[in-house]
Every structure is written in C-alpha cells, then in structure tokens.
Symmetry: C2
Subunit: 451 residues, 2 copies
C-alpha cells in the first residue's frame, strides 16, 4: 500500500491544480489517458483548429455577396489534421515528463476505488490524505441495434480519420453535432443530422436555437423529431433506419458520428465503492466548496456537473486548490455566470438565463433583441441573420442572460459576462461606456440601450 499526501485523479483540469504551494507534499497523478484531458486531446482545442479552417472555407465561398469572387479548390484534410495533432500530440509526453521531473509520481494505468480513500491502480493500492477526483467524461454510446456492427465515430476519434467522407450521418443535435456539422460541410462532405428533439441546440435560448436550426437546415439535411432505429454496414459506410414524423426512411452515409451526450467517468472509477455520494446522472455530489461526501476527497469538472466547459473546470480547479490550502477560508464559484460558446456557423455564445428558463423559474425579466443588421458593421457584413438578445431584471437592472448568434459571438459577449460577474447594471454599461463606431460591439450597445 502506497501512501501519498495528495493524489489527483485525471490530468486535465486536475493537473492544473498542482502549484508550487504543493511542492513539499508527496504527490501522485493518475491518468490512464493523456495529459491535457479531453479539452486538449479530443475536445475544445483541436476542434477549434478544424473550425477555424472550416470558417475560412465557408467565408471564402460566401464572399461573393460582398462582390469578392472567391472559390475553394479543395481542403487538404490530412494537412489540417496533421497540423492539429503534430502540435498537440507531443504535449502529453512533455507534460508527463515535467511532472515526473518535479518529483510527482505519475500512474498511467486505469484506477478505481476499492474503499473510501483506497484506490487500486494496476496491481498497486494507494491511499492519500487528500484526493482530487477530476476524471472527466466520455461520449455516450447509445443502445441502437446494429451500432456495434459499424465503424462509427465519436468526437474522440473523428478528428483523426485519414480521409474526408463524401457523406456523414450525425446522430445528435447538440454542440458537437453543430460544430462537426459545420466542419465537414465546409470541407465538402454532405452532412445529415438526426435529432430527437424539435430543434438543434435545445439547451440554447429558444430564439437562438430556432435561428440556428433554420440556418443549419440550409446547409445540412436536418431531420428533427427523429431517431435512428437501427444501423447496418453498407459498403465502407453505414445504412441507418430513421424514424421521424413522416414515417421511416433509410439514410446511407460514408461515415457516422455519434454525439448524443457525454457521461462522467465515475463508473469506471467505481466512485460509489469509494464511498462518494452520487447523483442520478453519475455525477459525484459536492458542496459549493467542491467537497464530496468523504472528508479529504474533492471533485471537480465533468465528474461533478453538466457544464462540460474547460473554463468552468479550470475555475473549479482554482477553487479546490485554494480550499485545500486554506481550509479556514473556503471559497465557492458563482455558478450563475458560466458562459459558453458553440463554435459552429454562425458562432453562438451565451451566459446566464435563457428566456425559457426565466419563464420556467418565474423570474421577472425585460428582453431586447437587436440584429447585427441594425448596425453599420452588420451592414458591411451584409448580415441578415445574426442578433444579440439580452434579458435583464426590471427590479435591479442587472443582466440575467445574454445570447448571441453571429460572427464573433464568443468575443462580443465578453463585456456582458463582465457585467454579470461584477454586477454592473445595463444602464451603466450602456450609457457610461463608449462603443467604437462602427464596430460590431454596437449591436451589444443597441441591445443594452433598448433595455
């Protein structure tokens, strides 16, 4: 039985927790996958490298509306892929070596709890004063007849394929479907999306979700209120039976991407055997300070909540670091300001309450919606579909939520995140701050002034 002061399970946001303040401790990291976790290896970072290339291809094709006659001869998939992973893949080894050079033990085998604060890693058993569980999540593979007979992809694998398929069947209508739909369509692949719900991106504000569904339906074949009932191999690809409002149909495609959600890796960790209280979704239950039901065991990231956002997990990691070091002065994270973006086309960014959430919770609100086309820069873009939507509390004039669909959405939203986080009223940020004319930020200004 090995004993440590601190054991960190997961080298994604967990790894970021380690700072020199822990240098005097006997520390281990357990990571059966790769340093950097989902974000660096299979998530945000590589996907954005594909998305930026996809944006470039789509923008070139769309330049004609501006009087610029451009065309895309071809997209060199292998060069995009190799540029991405030649940059990312070496980081695992260097991060691992760096930790070892600091005297941190790194275990690279899978681990699971066998008792509270007792971990089995390969043939070793490990205990520690302090555990931090940051084991992340993985794609859900649904139980569809025949799925095990075809070579389907998830977000874990699809970025590493050798050749672009002529057609792609996407099962799911969330942010991964929206991002990869954009990537593959822009690169020349015909994309079909099968979505169980009535719209794509159902978690977004309804107006955003509705607008995105309309725009995506111009680019892809989007089958709403539909489910795949069975799958079979067909040549090198797949043939799927899809049940929808108009009955059943067959959809054939050269490749299949399954992205119906992610599940926490707490099952593989046997978190329950470690005595950790779990919720019905397999998340470890923590208090606001990220303490679990077992004293000395902390948890963060996808293992504890639905956000699946690297910047949230990083913030949680900083909170946990602080709380371990300062048990007399624990902190929490204000979870109502967890912004996110979907890097699809058009880009989407959001923070705070959606209108449907506000209604469901009975929160009083005023709302404003301003189109990019009502600003000079929106004119210049010949934009007709982008908008900024704001919800504010009529009582204290604070923002409740902000939702943007359109170019630069993930950048445009930052002053609104700042206002929510620092409790600045819409009147102060609307009236007492200048907005450069004619920048895209004027769409935000106008939405604020309309409130």
């Amino acid at each position: 039985m090995l004993h440590y002061d601190l054991v960190i399970l997961g080298a994604g946001s967990g790894n970021m927790l380690l700072s020199e303040e822990f240098g005097h401790l006997r520390t281990a990291i357990v990571e059966p996958g790769r340093f950097g976790g989902t974000c660096l290896n299979r998530g945000c970072i590589p996907s954005k490298m594909f998305v930026v290339a996809a944006d470039a291809a789509e923008d070139a094709r769309a330049a004609r509306r501006l009087g610029v006659h451009a065309s895309v001869e071809h997209v060199d998939w292998k060069s995009v892929r190799d540029r991405v992973f030649d940059r990312i893949d070496p980081l695992h080894e260097s991060a691992l070596e760096y930790r070892r050079s600091q005297g941190v033990d790194v275990f690279t085998e899978a681990a699971h709890f066998v008792a509270p604060k007792v971990l089995e890693v390969g043939s070793e058993r490990i205990t520690a004063e302090t555990f931090v569980v940051a084991v992340g999540s993985r794609p859900v593979v649904p139980d569809i007849p025949g799925l095990d007979t075809v070579a389907f992809h998830t977000s874990d694998t699809i970025m590493r394929i050798d050749d672009l398929p002529a057609s792609l069947l996407v099962l799911g209508g969330g942010f991964i479907a929206a991002e990869f739909g954009h990537v593959f369509q822009s690169f020349g692949t015909d994309v079909t999306i099968v979505q169980r719900g009535p719209r794509l991106l159902m978690a977004e504000d309804e107006q955003i979700s509705q607008r995105f569904t309309e725009l995506a339906s111009r680019r892809h074949r989007v089958l709403l209120d539909s489910e795949i009932t069975s799958v079979a191999p067909e040549g090198d690809g797949v043939s799927a039976r899809v049940a929808g409002p108009d009955g059943e149909r067959t959809v054939e495609a050269g490749m299949m991407l399954v992205c119906v959600g992610r599940r926490p890796n707490t099952d593989r960790l046997r978190a329950a055997d470690g005595g950790l209280e779990m919720d019905s979704h397999g998340h470890i239950v923590t208090d606001g300070a990220y303490r679990t039901s077992v004293p000395g065991v902390w948890a963060l990231g996808d293992a504890v909540n639905h956000f699946q956002l690297k910047h949230v997990a990083n913030a949680e990691s900083r909170v946990v670091r602080h709380n371990i070091l300062h048990p007399q002065d624990m902190r929490t994270l204000p979870n109502n300001v967890a912004p996110h973006a979907v890097f699809t086309s058009p880009q989407i960014a959001s923070v705070g309450l959606t209108e449907q959430e506000a209604r469901r919770r009975g929160v009083e609100f005023v709302v404003s919606v301003r189109d990019y086309s009502q600003t000079a820069y929106g004119w210049a873009l010949e934009d007709t579909t982008s908008f900024v939507k704001l919800l504010a509390s009529p009582a204290d004039r604070l923002l409740l939520g902000a939702h943007i669909i359109g170019p630069q959405a993930a950048t445009l939203i930052q002053p609104l995140i700042q206002a929510m986080s620092l409790e600045l009223t819409v009147d102060r940020i609307g009236h007492d701050v200048m907005y450069i004319h004619p920048a895209l930020t004027e769409a935000v200004e106008q939405a604020l002034l309309e409130l």
Copy 2:
C-alpha cells in the same frame, strides 16, 4: 433677418442632437453638404463596407496556411461601390425630408458668421438664441508643386471611382492610408505609401505602430521618412518625385490618394467673425460642457477637437443636448476614455494612454503584452503577429491604456473600455470574470493576469 430659437450648423452629429424635447422650439438646420455628415457619406460607414470586402478577399488568399486552398478570381469594384452607395445615398434625402416634416427649416447653402450669433446663409441672415456648431472637418490638401495639375483623390472621392487602378500612390501614413491601403491592395492594386514619419500610424502605441509598419511593408511598398516634392501628370495617372533617406526617386502610379490629415471647417464658417475663440489648429475653444466663448453658442465634434471619431462626437452631442436642456445641471465627457479602431489589416484598437504618452507624462505604469499565439484560438488561427498590450497603474491597479493589433481587435477591446470607463481594477476583471475557452478573449485574460 430670420430668428430661431435653435440653429444647428451641420447635419452629422449635430442632427442627432435634435430630440422631441426640442419640438416646441423654432429650429433650423444648416447643411450645405449631406445629412449624415462625413461618417455616413464619406467616412466610417462606407469605408467599412469596402474594408469588410477587402478582409474577405485577403482572408480567402490567406486560408492556405490552414489547409484550405482558396483563390480570389476577381473583385467586382463597381458592384462593391454600388452596393455601398445605393444603400447610403438615399438616406440624405429621407433624413432631410424627415426634418422638414417635423417643422424644422433646413438650409442647404453654405453659411458663415458675420457677427456673434449672426449667420449669413445664401442671401438670408439668421440669428438664434442658441447655436450648435457641428460643421465637421475636411481633408487637408497640402501645398505640393504640381498637385493642382493631377486628378488626385481624397477620402471624400476615392470610394466613388469607376474602376480600380493598377497602382495607387498614397500620400500619408495615418489611419486613412492604412485602411485604403488595405482595401486597394486586397482588391489587386499595387499600393505605394509615402510617409513623412519613421513609422505608419504614429499616433498608436509605438509597439503597435512598429508591428503594423512591418506587416504593411510586406504588402505595400512603404517609403518612410519620405516626402513628395512634386507631382506631374503621367498618362492617366501621376508621376511623383519622392525625397527620402536614400535620395530622390520617381514613383509612378495610376492614381493618387492624398490623406495627410483633416482640418476643421471653421474657416469656411468664419467662426472668428462669429466672435468664437479659436485654437492654433482652427478648432473652436470650448469648456468641458461644450460652451464656446460666445454665450448661447455650443460646439462639438471635429470642429472642436482632434478625435475625428463619430462615437465621440455622438457622445458630445448627447452632452450638449443635455446641457442645453438642463443649464442648472451641466455635464461633461470623461475624455480620457475615447477608444478608437483602425479597420485595416490586421485590425487595430486602442483606448487610453500609449506607452510613449505614459512615459512623456511621467505616469507610473506596469505593462503586459500577450500574443494571440499564446492562446488556443490564436493557435487555431495560425496567428504569429497579433498581440494585446495593457498598461495599468501600479498604485490603484486601474487600466491606463489598452492596445490590440490582430483579428477582431475592435471587438476584443470592449471589456477593457468598459473597465476603464467604470474604474474596474485589472484584478477584478482578470480574476473575477470568466473567459470562454477557447475564445480569442483569452488573450485579453492572459494579459490581465500577467499584470
């Protein structure tokens, strides 16, 4: 002699001052040019419509670095131009008719003061209780031998030309040179810039100016520390003698653009005859409330300061409106937060003190510079030249200045403008606010955390 309660000289930002609160007054507007002023007709708005098209052309050509092989077949200048002005030109007539329908008299002849608060417009003489002088500015035409013999352009005329020239000689190295250099080069014209100073965009932070000069020199022929000593016609174009550090040379070009600065239109207004105190640059002197030396005469915009920024003039217009309506509760504008952007390539945005200004004024500061390439989105862009530079006061931890060169600069800077305007410390906006990963805003976050 006609008498009014209120006369507004200039239908740019002056026109925006009129609100229903003035509805009971006998009001006139004097505008010998076009409603909307420089910004709408000859400035910010049409130029951005050209710039966005130029961005699209340049981005398409640059997509190869991302593995996207695109090309620009041609740019249809006439369609760009007509799209711009078919949209803008009708606005003058409708704005003028709108004012007349409200009972406002509109004079469309040139006007000048003949005595304090006595204006001559055509054959009429006009007096008023209250005058607002918002007559704007116009391009300076320098005194160069031979310039009167060639058909040179200024920013007033170059957007309306019929055909793209094969080559363009730009005299000047400020923001107009930077924006039109980008537009014409992106559209296929060879651009030569002749700049008197050692760098382009000398008013920007030195590091920004230096970086921009390097990048512009890769696209254009940039002649620094140089002056045009004479010009002569050459075919349909011009032949210019240019004196620089390496002696004199001849530069020939199909077209010439003169953009060496702008001068206030106060000379044509004979502002001095109206008893208005002037500064040595021809600006009308006002106090912080925008009152001139003549009681009842207010002035704003390019007629009173060097900003040449529509959003500043609009803010001044709102202050003057308030002050006319509430003489017991006058307001001023905090002039230290006047952000601006240069819509060239790469985009540039700035607010507050530059480093050289801080040094000159003896202001204590700490500085941080973060490259886009240090963020995931910068990676994705394969960006190697863009950065965020921040200056803050070590005493109170408030931002002194922010300077950005790179994609989306004019959008990225908004949370920093917000922080300066509302006096939020760099620690609060760095630590207490989330930045979406992996958005471009992380470059701002990192620069803040480095402070």
